[in-house]
């Protein structure tokens, strides 16, 4: 306790000096010991550990028909999930009950989605939802969109069914929270590619595996956010309930849950977004839908068609996002309306809407024109052609420019930095990183860092991990640079925000597989391409966080700064940024995690290192163990970077608070 206090207070002024000293030691060590003890491992080479992991996988496969765990547990889960998914599919996407078409045709789905969004949110999002779904049909992708819709819906339903109670439990109990948190970290950072193949071994090829793969990635947000929402209940309100003699369950039902409702809806939103981001990957194990269109067009480098499918996913994501956001606002506002007249009008309107929806459902059940999306209007082909034309043009005219840029960044920044990380003796880098963690964070952070690094050495993939770390950090620098420029711009102007935000949403939800081909054309198969793809995915998150942080700087302080005669630049650098330090650190933390989640995608376009190892493990039986080890290494890097940035963030937050007081 006291020693930590000493570190916190005593060493503070020398922190910068210590970091500098550590970096100097590293540089000197690098120059002298360059190339020694780098623990490099060839692309096709494996360690005994990897072999053992392989054997484990084989054992699972060999015993799956006799093991009681399979017979009574996994098989039961599979059956339930399969049935749920098949049921939802038979409603909207797959022929069922002896009919050549699903029960509900396009008209019914559009009406139902529009009406539901209106009822849960407002009229605006209702119209948006109806228009969005119609657009998917107009692109000629109705069937595939509905397959994706059904699968995502099933995954989200199961995720919420399991996740919300678990999140509430974790919110109420510290012990559960402590157990659940690392598991969630694991679920979110372990690349899906690693467990995709074993998953089909456990849950077989079919909807269950696809749903469960999606679930593993998509459930954590709602669990975390529900727990957070429960934890956030104002202490005094809880005390008040307690002081009135409320039991634990009364407090939970009557106080905590109603108060956390809005936060939980935000968790639902995040879970839906995460589920949609799995659409393409799930297609690798036969999940039907838009993901398959993307993968299929990737085979023939058909960027246009891939873009059609990607656009449908983006639209679905935006519709879901806006609807859940509107729903959370409604949850908030529902209790504020004291005048009952608008509520009554709305009720009657909803009743009429419900009736119209029912008619549409009936029509789409009965008549072919309302069941099968008409093919008369083809919006898809022009869009596809335009997308192809744009990428062709860019590939032809910009590639010289982009290639030079890639060379510049790679040679002047990435290569030297990567060399510094990979060619230093592992123990030197180990010591330096732990030292930095101790100084930048706390003793606790240093212990976590040491543990993670030791385990990375244990995976036998130190060299690859350091290569990946280099690329990750370079990408994060780019993310933060973009985040600062665009985030500040958006934070200072509502109009700019309104224009840029949908673009960010699209960049975040567009499956990266769609733009991999043009990126490879522009930047060649290289680590840089991996970095570029990661930046496209991660920058929107950082930009949004920073924009929100800047916008949240208290207007009084801004007024004071302006009154003191500050220029815009001075307001930004002396007021808005310093006061958003905590937000900036949070943006960096999220940026890092998002970048890390793109490591595998980087492996598909020449990024090499851990990403390639994971892909190779998926593609080649003999390398499964190595792929799993690489996945673990990614998780470990993720936990390490997360803990370091979090402790830096809380320190920055403390400084910000200090500034604010």
């Amino acid at each position: 306790m006291t020693s930590i206090a000493l570190v916190r207070t005593g060493i503070r002024p020398f922190r910068g000096a210590i970091v500098t000293a550590l970096l100097l030691v590293w540089l000197v060590g690098f120059t002298v010991l360059h190339g020694q003890d780098t623990l490099a491992l060839g692309a096709a080479d494996t360690t005994p550990l990897h072999g053992r992991l392989n054997d484990l996988n084989d054992a699972v496969g060999a015993n799956r028909n006799s093991n009681p765990l399979f017979l009574y547990f996994f098989n039961e889960i599979r059956l339930v999930v399969d049935q749920l998914t098949t049921f939802i599919s038979s409603l909207v996407s797959q022929p069922a009950f002896g009919r050549p078409v699903p029960l509900i045709g396009w008209l019914g789905v559009v009406a139902l989605v529009g009406f539901g969004s209106w009822a849960l949110g407002n009229l605006k999002v209702g119209l948006l939802a109806a228009a969005g779904f119609t657009f998917m049909g107009l692109q000629g992708l109705w069937q595939q969109s509905m397959d994706t819709f059904a699968l995502t819906l099933s995954a989200v339903l199961v995720a919420l069914l399991v996740g919300i109670p678990l999140g509430i439990w974790a919110g109420v109990s510290d012990r559960v929270n402590r157990i659940v948190t690392p598991v969630l970290d694991f679920m979110q950072t372990m690349p899906t590619f690693v467990y995709l193949a074993p998953l089909t071994l456990v849950f077989l090829i079919g909807p269950a595996s696809a749903v469960i793969a999606t679930l593993i990635y998509a459930a954590p947000p709602v669990i975390r956010i529900a727990a957070h929402g429960i934890r956030q209940s104002p202490k005094e309100t809880l005390e008040a309930a307690q002081s009135l003699g409320a039991t634990r369950s009364q407090t939970l039902r009557q106080v905590m849950l109603p108060l956390a409702k809005r936060t939980i809806v935000i968790g639902v939103n995040q879970t839906i977004m995460a589920a949609l981001s799995m659409v393409t990957i799930a297609a690798l194990i036969d999940a039907p839908g838009l993901g398959r269109v993307v993968l299929r067009s990737l085979q023939s480098l058909d960027v246009g068609t891939a873009f059609n499918a990607g656009l449908s996913i983006v639209i679905m994501a935006i519709v879901f996002d806006r609807v859940t956001t509107a729903a959370s606002v409604r949850v908030e506002r529902a209790r504020r309306t004291t005048s009952r007249i608008p509520a009554r009008v709305r009720k009657v309107a909803l009743l009429v809407g419900g009736a119209v929806t029912a008619v549409c459902l009936y029509l789409s059940y009965t008549f072919v024109w309302a069941a099968e999306f008409p093919t008369d209007f083809d919006v898809g082909s022009p869009i596809s052609r335009a997308a192809s034309a744009v990428t062709d043009w860019a590939q032809l005219h910009l590639s010289a420019l982009t290639s030079d840029f890639k060379e510049l960044v790679t040679n002047s920044l990435l290569n030297p930095f990567q060399s510094l990380l990979t060619d230093s003796p592992w123990w030197l880098l180990f010591a330096v990183l732990v030292g930095i963690a101790a100084v930048a964070g706390s003793v606790r952070t240093a212990v976590t860092t040491a543990l993670c690094l030791a385990l990375i050495v244990g995976t036998g993939l130190w060299f690859d991990a350091m290569t990946t770390l280099a690329a990750t950090l370079v990408a994060t620098v780019a993310v933060m640079a973009l985040g600062l420029v665009l985030g500040v711009w958006m934070g200072r102007s509502v109009r700019v925000d309104r224009v840029i935000r949908p673009v960010l949403d699209a960049a975040q939800t567009m499956p990266s597989f769609v733009y991999l081909v043009p990126f490879v054309a522009l930047f060649a198969a290289s680590r840089f391409t991996g970095i570029a793809a990661a930046v496209v995915y991660a920058a929107p998150v950082a930009i949004k966080i920073i924009a929100d942080g800047i916008a949240a700087v208290s207007p009084t302080t801004m007024e004071a700064a302006t009154a003191a005669g500050s220029s815009s630049w001075q307001v930004i650098t002396k007021v808005q940024l310093p006061m958003s330090l905590g937000t900036l650190a949070l943006a960096m933390n999220q940026g890092l995690i998002y970048v890390l989640s793109m490591v595998v995608v980087g492996g598909l376009v020449g990024g090499g290192a851990l990403g390639y190892d994971v892909v190779a493990g998926f593609r080649q039986n003999a390398l499964f163990g190595k792929g799993l080890a690489a996945g673990l290494a990614i998780v470990l890097l993720g936990i390490m970077l997360d803990r370091i940035t979090q402790s830096v963030a809380s320190r920055a937050q403390a400084t910000t608070d200090h500034v604010r007081h």
Binding site: M1, P234, E236, T237, L238, E239, A240, A241, Q242, S243, L244, G245, A246, T247, Q250, Q254, V255, P258, L259, K261, R335, R336, T338
Partner: protein, 383 residues
Amino acid sequence: MTIPSQFTEPAQSSEPSAGETMTTAIPEELVQSPSLEAKATAGAPAPVISVQNLWKVFGANADGVPRSEELRALPRKELKQRTGCVAAVCDLSFDVAPGEVFVVMGLSGSGKSTLVRCLTRLIEPTAGRVLFKGDDILQANERSLRELRRHNIAMVFQHFGLLPHRRVADNVSYGLEIRGAGKKERSQRAAEVIDLVGLSGYESSFPDQLSGGMQQRVGLARALAGDPEVLLFDEPFSALDPLIRRDMQNEVIRLHHEVGKTMVFITHDLSEALKLGDRILIMRDGRLVQVGTGAELVGAPADDYVRDFVREVPRSHVLTLRWIMRPVQPDDQLDGPEFGPEVVVREAVRAVLESERPIKVVEDGRLLGVVGNAEILAVVAES
């Protein structure tokens, strides 16, 4: 503005029986709180709440602190350095009489909010006893503790602690709801208390549509709804504007008159303490510094800390004649007007100054002493 009757109510357990010494010098035993406590229990009505050697220590191995003679005596800072534990409440003892308004006053960090939470075990005390009408709350099982909270002791919070998703009426009747009262009974009782606190017409508003003062009225109504014997107030008005705060203080005084509940009131504001409290307990770093009536605190501060506290208080508003009267001297002309010993100085100023002779302080027909121009002016000039 002040209501004298507040301070002259009979049967105060801490009545300074040392008044007979007839001296303006402060009776030694008044300062010694243990002796005061001893007197309080003797002959006075049985206390509603009796706190005995209460400890609350935060930190690892907190249990060990109250048990160790050595650690018990350590000041808070040293204890923290030695063990890492923070002692929020240290060895506190006091009684609260039925119908009394008992104020606990201290600066932030003095442990007063922890103390009030220990009374119904919203915070689990580390050691000691808290007796409610003779039963030790600390020994109560979960069920009877819940019953106690539902029926006997209610609390009003600094930041109100209202349920934002419920309307005013539902907030007020929440306590009745969780005890399982029927809907009709709830709404009837809610209407009554809402009327009592002056919120009629706002039954179906939501808390965030009300001003801070009105929200606290809801908090007050909620506490009153269950008709408890004791009301606990945790700095209920410190989040309010000064004017509203004054209104609310008067509201509490009015309610105290109307419903006559025993109240334990936490505050950091001395004037509030003096205005409301029959007796005031001053806390510092978790320990009791002094307990007594406002007049006792002002007239006989236990130490420099209390003295510093009460320095700005206009003495004439607080001190009673008992504190400034002098013994009768042979040459005193004893045909002046008569006053009781608990009359506040301010109330007697005019009478003393207008009278040719010193006024007589008389209790139960006995002449306790006299107050002349010199005595009055000494007090008035000082404040």
